[in-house]
């Protein structure tokens, strides 16, 4: 019987189908083409999104570099470098960005954050004025006040957050927390 098995094994090529139905390939081909079309579409969407993100980031980066350079120039011009205002503001902002509070208390902080935004608008007004009229002494005094007030406001926000979290810890309401967007 072994010989019979060997004979079948040696001739297994002869068991192959003689012909194939072309519809099998057509089915494969149509699905490959559909998948390609879908993946090309996806790729194009992805590329467009990527370009948009890069463009927005680049503009944002360019603006922030420009604003930082302008701020440094103003500080140097009015001889305010000794107060380390920029460093203080950055440090306090970074600290605030790491904080989180219960979502139902957000409103209390939001009012202070809006004040901060308003103050930044004020600084822009000063820079426009300087660009138009040059560096004048009274603007230097305004800017000194601006930074002092801004730092005070940042401290106030920090205090408010600590107060909120102190009570939250005591009462433990288990309210979900949100980060401070600054």
């Amino acid at each position: 019987m072994r010989e019979f098995e060997d004979y079948l094994k040696e001739n297994k090529k002869r068991f192959e189908a003689d012909q194939l139905d072309e519809s099998i390939w057509q089915g494969i081909e149509s699905q490959i083409v559909v998948k390609h079309k879908v993946s090309y579409k996806k790729l194009i969407c992805l590329l467009v999104a990527l370009i948009a993100i890069l463009l927005v980031s680049f503009i944002g980066y360019k603006n922030s570099v420009k604003a930082e350079a302008l701020e440094n120039r103003v500080i140097a011009q009015f001889d305010l470098g000794q107060y380390n205002f920029v460093q203080q503001v950055n440090y306090k902002k970074q600290k605030l960005a790491e904080e989180s509070i219960p979502v139902d208390q957000l409103e209390r902080v939001q009012i202070l954050l809006q004040q901060l935004e308003f103050m930044d608008g004020q600084f822009q007004d000063y820079t426009y004025y300087i660009e138009k009229n040059g560096y004048q002494k009274f603007i230097g005094e305004q800017i000194l006040n601006f930074y002092t007030s801004k730092i005070e406001l940042l401290d106030k926000i920090q205090d408010e957050i600590e107060k909120i979290n102190y009570y939250e810890e005591k009462i433990q309401t288990s309210t979900p927390k949100v980060n401070i967007q600054i």
Binding site: L8, N11, R14, F15, E16, D18, G27, E29, I32, H36
Partner: protein, 179 residues
């Protein structure tokens, strides 16, 4: 696929989504795969679906194939696995008590050389489902009995006895037809 054809080169092209390379792979392997699957499923319509699905799967996963020269054996695995998955629900094994009743002469004359291969193919198709699957996997696809046992979820001894049953049954039927 013709000897000397550089399968690896064609697979490389297919990896780069070259449709004509995919077609070349299909032309090279489809008949072999169709026959292997048909011996397991015994249904041409279902086999055609399995072949279509298996080729498509292989083209989509070509990136995972590291040794491009082994495309054929890799594809065969996919086809066999898909075919087994298909027949798993309907599989039944014949009671093989009848095996002893099948007379087999051990030192036989080579009576089978003159047999028409279409006739052999037809008789293989007529074998009971479970034993035909094992017969095809063991003798023609060269799987071992432990491998078959694992694939089909049967014991190794069951795989061996079903194979013996298939080969004896096939031999007896063919001898009967010859006479």
């Amino acid at each position: 696929m013709n000897k000397g054809t550089d399968i690896a080169a064609i697979v490389s092209k297919a990896k780069a989504d070259d449709l004509s390379a995919m077609r070349a792979l299909y032309d090279g392997f489809a008949k072999e795969m169709l026959s292997a699957s048909l011996r397991i499923t015994n249904s041409l319509v279902d086999t055609q679906d399995i072949i279509q699905e298996s080729f498509l799967h292989s083209f989509q996963k070509l990136g995972q194939l590291q040794d491009e020269g082994k495309y054929g054996s890799w594809l065969k695995r996919i086809v066999i696995n898909n075919s087994i998955k298909f027949v798993k629900q309907r599989r039944s094994f014949d009671m093989i008590n009848a095996i002893d009743k099948l007379y087999v002469e051990e030192n036989e004359e080579p009576w089978f050389y003159e047999l028409d291969f279409d006739l052999i193919k037809m008789e293989i198709q007529k074998l009971p489902n479970g034993s035909r699957e094992i017969f095809s996997l063991y003798l023609l696809e060269e799987y071992t009995h432990p491998e078959i046992a694992m694939l089909l979820g049967v014991s190794v001894s069951n795989s061996k006895s079903q194979y013996r049953y298939a080969i004896k049954l096939l031999r007896t039927r063919l001898m009967h037809l010859k006479v």
